[in-house]
């Protein structure tokens, strides 16, 4: 008996929809096994991880709060991934965006101009683009692999953040904590849902989703990116510039991540902290893939991943699970999903070996 994959004539729509759901189920099963082995109560862990986020309005609103940066960044990254440009340094672009946005309120802590907030958002988005643009420059000019360059730039960004918070930008009245001054009201994003911390950055993320959808489905520019990702030689043959695809992919990814960083400091944090970087940039990679790199799929996967984030916070308290459990779950989820993707273009065949 031989089990093998046979290529399908055309992609299976059913498999496309089933794959993420099945991956989710498998990841849950695998986590339960793992948690049990570690001596944690799996029932409690799952309850915290998957149900608690829905049980109170507050918890649910926190899910929406987390969803904004994840969705925004993932939309930016997915465009690049479809073009085979792998920006895995969104974490660094987010940090640099947050830093740039913080400059104004740090320098003008009493500022009350109506232009402060828009300026911060612009600076954040611009800085994120510039940071990603370094990778684009190195890739197009020197052929340097963008995966490694964007990742290195993330590590650098994290150190720059540390330097600023431990040095020049440290709040002099902050009991020596590595954080900046609290921002004035003029530097804070308006709240979207009264009584919660959900701010208008969720709207940015949803608008970004609509724009990404238009770009990838209806614009010729998006089509060019897709061709570059699926068949680089076909793109060259048709005259679609590879350099342009690299620049567009990285700049859009950097813009989204930088804006998300700005929205974090101008939103729930209200100051520049080390915790501005809690792995959104890496989780967004998973969100992008899990959503099938499809703008609307990403909206769903961003929501699911936010649930897990909030659930993980809960599980830390109620099920004594370290926050690392969330990473494990995310890693498992992506592993299963990638395996599941195979069924979109392949079917399984069982061949009984012919006897000689």
């Amino acid at each position: 008996m031989k089990i093998s994959f046979i290529r399908r004539e055309r992609a299976s729509r059913t498999a496309m929809l089933v794959a993420p759901v099945a991956a989710f189920a498998c990841a849950i099963v695998a986590s339960v096994v793992l948690f049990t082995l570690l001596g944690k109560a799996p029932g409690q862990a799952l309850y915290s991880l998957l149900l608690e986020p829905f049980l109170t309005w507050y918890n649910f609103s926190e899910v929406l709060l987390k969803m904004a940066p994840l969705l925004l960044i993932a939309q930016g990254l997915a465009i690049g991934f479809r073009a085979n440009v792998f920006n895995i340094g969104a974490e660094g672009q987010l940090i640099i965006g947050a830093i740039a946005a913080s400059a104004l309120p740090v320098w003008y802590p009493q500022g009350d101009s109506a232009f402060m907030l828009p300026a911060m958002l612009l600076m954040g988005a611009g800085a994120g683009m510039a940071w990603a643009g370094i990778a684009a420059l190195f890739r197009t000019r020197f052929n340097a692999n963008e995966i490694l360059v964007t990742l290195m730039l993330s590590l650098i960004a994290a150190q720059v953040l540390n330097y600023l918070l431990l040095g020049p930008w440290k709040d002099p009245h902050g009991f020596n904590f590595p954080q900046s001054v609290m921002f004035p009201d003029a530097a804070l994003l308006p709240i979207l849902l009264p009584g919660t911390r959900v701010n208008i950055s969720l709207l940015f993320a949803l608008i970004a989703s609509v724009l990404a959808s238009i770009l990838m489905r209806h614009r010729f520019a998006g089509f060019q990116l897709l061709v570059g990702g699926l068949a680089p030689r076909a793109a060259r043959y048709a005259g679609f510039s590879e350099a342009r695809a690299i620049w567009v992919s990285l700049l859009l990814g950097g813009l989204a991540a930088g804006l998300a960083g700005a929205a974090e400091v101008a939103g729930p944090l209200g100051q520049l902290q080390r915790s501005v970087s809690t792995g959104y940039g890496y989780s967004a990679i998973i969100v992008a893939y899990l959503g099938g790199l499809n703008p609307w799929g990403i909206v769903i996967s961003a929501f699911v991943m936010s649930v897990i984030y909030i659930g993980g916070d809960n599980a830390m308290v109620s099920a004594d699970l370290p926050i690392a459990a969330v990473w494990v779950f995310q890693g498992l989820l992506l592993c299963f999903y990638l395996a599941g993707l195979t069924f979109i273009r392949h079917r399984v065949s069982f061949i009984r070996k012919a006897k000689p």
């Binding site: 010729f220 897709l226 068949a231 060259r236 043959y237 048709a238 005259g239 012919a354």
Partner: protein, 502 residues
Amino acid sequence: MTALLSLQSVSKRYGAVQANAGINLVVDPGSIHAILGENGAGKSTLMKLIYGVESPDAGVILWKGQPVNLSSPAEARALGIGMVFQHFSLFETLTVVQNIALIVPGRKTDLARRIRTLGDEFGLNVDPEAMVHALSVGERQRVEIIRCLLLNPELLILDEPTSVLPPQSVARLFETLRALQARGVAILFISHKLEEIKELCDTATILRGGQVTGRVDPRGHSAKDLATLMIGRAMPPPLPATVQAVGEVRLELSGLDFVNDDPFGVSLSDISLRVHSGEIVGIAGISGNGQQELAALISGEVVQPGDMIRMLGHAVGAVGVAQRRKMGFAFVPEERLGRGAVPEMSLADNALLTAHGAGLVQNGFIRRTPERAYTAACIARYDVRTPGPEAEAGALSGGNLQKFIMGREMMLEPKLLLVSQPTWGVDIGAATDIRQRLVAMRNAGAAILVISEELEELFQICDRLHVLHKGHLSPCLPTHATTVEEVGTYMIGAGKSPEVAA
């Protein structure tokens, strides 16, 4: 006499394609046995089954009367079966002797000595220490053959061995094969070239659509009979040769030099040619002599500033693909999947790939209705067999996809068309169709440059020929005034120097 090899009702299926169905084949010891069939008839699959690369779904393979179950090429080699692959199974970054050491046991110095001895004996000389990427296609074939011979095979399989050789070298290969036959080695010779088979082989098994349609002695049959067995009907008649007045120059290369920074590629030097409106100019030569580089320079996929390339009245050295296309240039590349078409995309999206300028895009938005209409028209006019514009390009057969790509480019009504290997891997019906359309385009006034390995094809459709050898282009040879032999001398680089010719 027991047959050396015999196959009984062997079948193999890949997905929806039944590549081999109930094949019966008997190869006698010491014979040169042809497997004749056109592209897609299932010849290569059959050889992979015999060499153990693939396992049959059904049927029995007998070696010297004993049933064998070959699960790997190593087992086939241990029995005494060797195979020379059409696209070679050599590794460019390894030396000749390293490539050989992969499957032939022995010390390196020992192997190198044996490679030289065998080379002298059979006229297969090659430097054992050379890197394979530095070898010509013909030399690579010698390495493949030597690698087989070092294992003392009783059966040697050669898959389309003459497709990579100039006419003169074919004769040399045949001498080598006859010398092997004289030593008792049986040979399975796979080809679709009728004359070669008549000259070399004592038996021919003919395949069509994955089935055996005949077993004959080719020496006793005319090429016409063999062709009928091969394609199931009479060969299509050759195209009528018409000479017509040519118009203005639409492509001019003058002294084009190109230094390739790809160490595995070919550099071009001093290439000069002209293509006029209303003519087809052919570039003959074995692949790997600079064809890809030349095509990429003309298409703009590789840009080299300067005025050595003039297209439709403009120097286009520094101009990219998109702008050349806007000027009225179109191109059909030799690789269909992954270059000429995106396999995972629908035919409609593949039409968009190069026909976006034909009203399929407005203000940067894709217009789906015209996109579909263009694709449907292409499918209908160029006889592409497919369920419709939504079918994925990767699901089409080679011939159908080639017709689609040809159609897509021709419907743009280009003033200058470059076609590379128009009928590679295409069945005879589709190939004839494609050639007829090229001639029709020429008659309507287009300038066409065809790069092809198939001399027969070039002689059929071209008004003038050049030969590309090691990055050098021969002088222009009017098709009606030249011969296969003359073209052949240029293909091995032995042609007259341009000064003498002029």
